[in-house]
Point group: C2
Chain length 336, copies 2
Amino acid sequence: MTNHAQRQADKTADAAASVKLGLNAAIVSVQKCHPQILLVKDRGTVGAGGLDSLPYGPFTPLEHRTLEIGLRNWVTQQTGLDLGYVEQLYTFGDRGRHAKKSDRLPHIVSIGYLALSGIQDETTIAQGSQWRSWYYFMPWEDWRNGKPSILKDEIEPLLKQWAGREPSSVSSARPIMRKDRIRICFGLDGVPWDEEKVLERYELLYEAGLLAESRLDGRKAAEIWQGEMAALGQPLQFDHRRILATAMGRLRGKLKYRPVVFELMPTMFTLLELQLVIEAVTGTRLHKQNFRRLVEASGLVEKTGDTSTNTGGRPAKLFRFRPDALLERPEPGLRV
Amino acid sequence: MTNHAQRQADKTADAAASVKLGLNAAIVSVQKCHPQILLVKDRGTVGAGGLDSLPYGPFTPLEHRTLEIGLRNWVTQQTGLDLGYVEQLYTFGDRGRHAKKSDRLPHIVSIGYLALSGIQDETTIAQGSQWRSWYYFMPWEDWRNGKPSILKDEIEPLLKQWAGREPSSVSSARPIMRKDRIRICFGLDGVPWDEEKVLERYELLYEAGLLAESRLDGRKAAEIWQGEMAALGQPLQFDHRRILATAMGRLRGKLKYRPVVFELMPTMFTLLELQLVIEAVTGTRLHKQNFRRLVEASGLVEKTGDTSTNTGGRPAKLFRFRPDALLERPEPGLRV
DNA sequence: TCAAAAGTGTTATCCTTACACCCATGT
DNA sequence: ACATGGGTGTAAGGATAACACTTTTGA
């Protein structure tokens, strides 16, 4: 390090180096085929526009020994829920995600977490919090009944317009064209839909100015265009929909190599129930017979011996998660 | 949210909610079959014990618009290097990772980043910074010449002792036994070695008290044991070896589904050179013929038409990365 | 001529995917 | 009887892994 750089480092290390750190939880459960996300009502914070938000609160090192402990505390205080499985997602720090142009809010860096809850009903959560289907915020992510109409009717035309407005590249570097990014993210022109690219799709829509959140960021007047009137899906407070997108993508990916689905299941379940939960999360349909074979071959579940008092049709064997699978296979997930 | 919780939230949001945020870069390059990591010399910080550290500095929102911009600035100042590919890894916040028991350092939350550099030589870095093989810090991770002797000779016996000292479970919950965790992380008793579990192995060694870093954390006297004298691999400042472990695991995993290797390659290279770089990173050997077939079939590279002035043996065709592969395949990586 | 690395061909095996079909229960 | 979901068998196709073998250069 040069002497100049050294002095620079010492100076900034002392001054103005502290920021507010926010902890945010995307808490997922699945209730009757609907992947739910736990929300809290607007608490009248400065800059909040009456939108719902994820449970969140600042990290206070004097009270909370670790980041995760802090997060669990906030969630319990705000929703009454005791979290089980928790995993860190990403730390977001872009200015403009949190603050409106020229307002005086302190800069906030927010750490997003994914949490999974096995509860199946609406009880046990506090006043002011509620479960909502995550597809309410990301309607283009649910392909269980075929391609969602919002894609053909709204998103694709608007994105096509946006691609047509692409400024010609100034530098010699050839960046990936908008058209190609759209193709890959949204599965156009023969590219298959990849259910894990939730964040990439969200970011693309954000960049194209098609989300309500895009407008809170200070945008240049020159960039105002027709699509600017669109507001796809229900927005959330701050950058919380972005955190949700990250959570969805991570969970969809993780299903395939870790037995996380069982965090969303009751202790006993039928194979169809398991399939419906996975379909709810991934937003796709699975091949029934192969799914069952795969699950039974995976060693992740075992028969309880009981059968379910069925809902139409032949009674189904009940299964439970078999934790010993973790000790046997190196990457125990359900590659479906 | 209850009224009590509301008041609590407002109170803590105002007071003591700011922390120091550190930005840390694990910068990787591969030079002559050695995966290198870029280090800077101890700057005499309070709490530093003369150990090398990753390039790092505080995040200062007033100067740096985003976290990544801040990181790039620190790296350039401290090492003279302009970063290309950069990716966020994880945010570490445990108390005790940074501060010795009862010292007065402010609580630091550190964000770790992975960066890749394609430079092949020692030039272009500033005084006070240097490249070191990452296996100097994690000698048990290099299996290119078979199982490393440090595993059989030191790690396995010490871990076996530690497993034997396991306290019997108090609660009714059955946690995963130390013995099983060791088996899975270190590939014992028929479990295959998984080169991606770098962080899991590091954490296990840390927990077993076999790393120099374990001792900086305030440990209960009762937990002192024979293995406490071990200090496997060369430590780094603060939690930087933990960040390095995270970076190694992430890079080893990412190779398989993203074309990140090419960030570590010169623009033109032979297939053997590509293979050696991948082997250096994963710490394993690959089957030559199948590797070549796989790479050529992947569409990720194209012939330049030139051949290399070879180093022993028949001249090899030169290849270059083909960026269009990104537009064609959904998950373009080298599953080797 | 030999070592060293480049490069080609072939085969056995496993895993995925799709299709066809039978079974048990409630109405 | 038939609708509904549970449950089994099997065969085609593709990807993977292992092996054997030829080619082209420098020393």
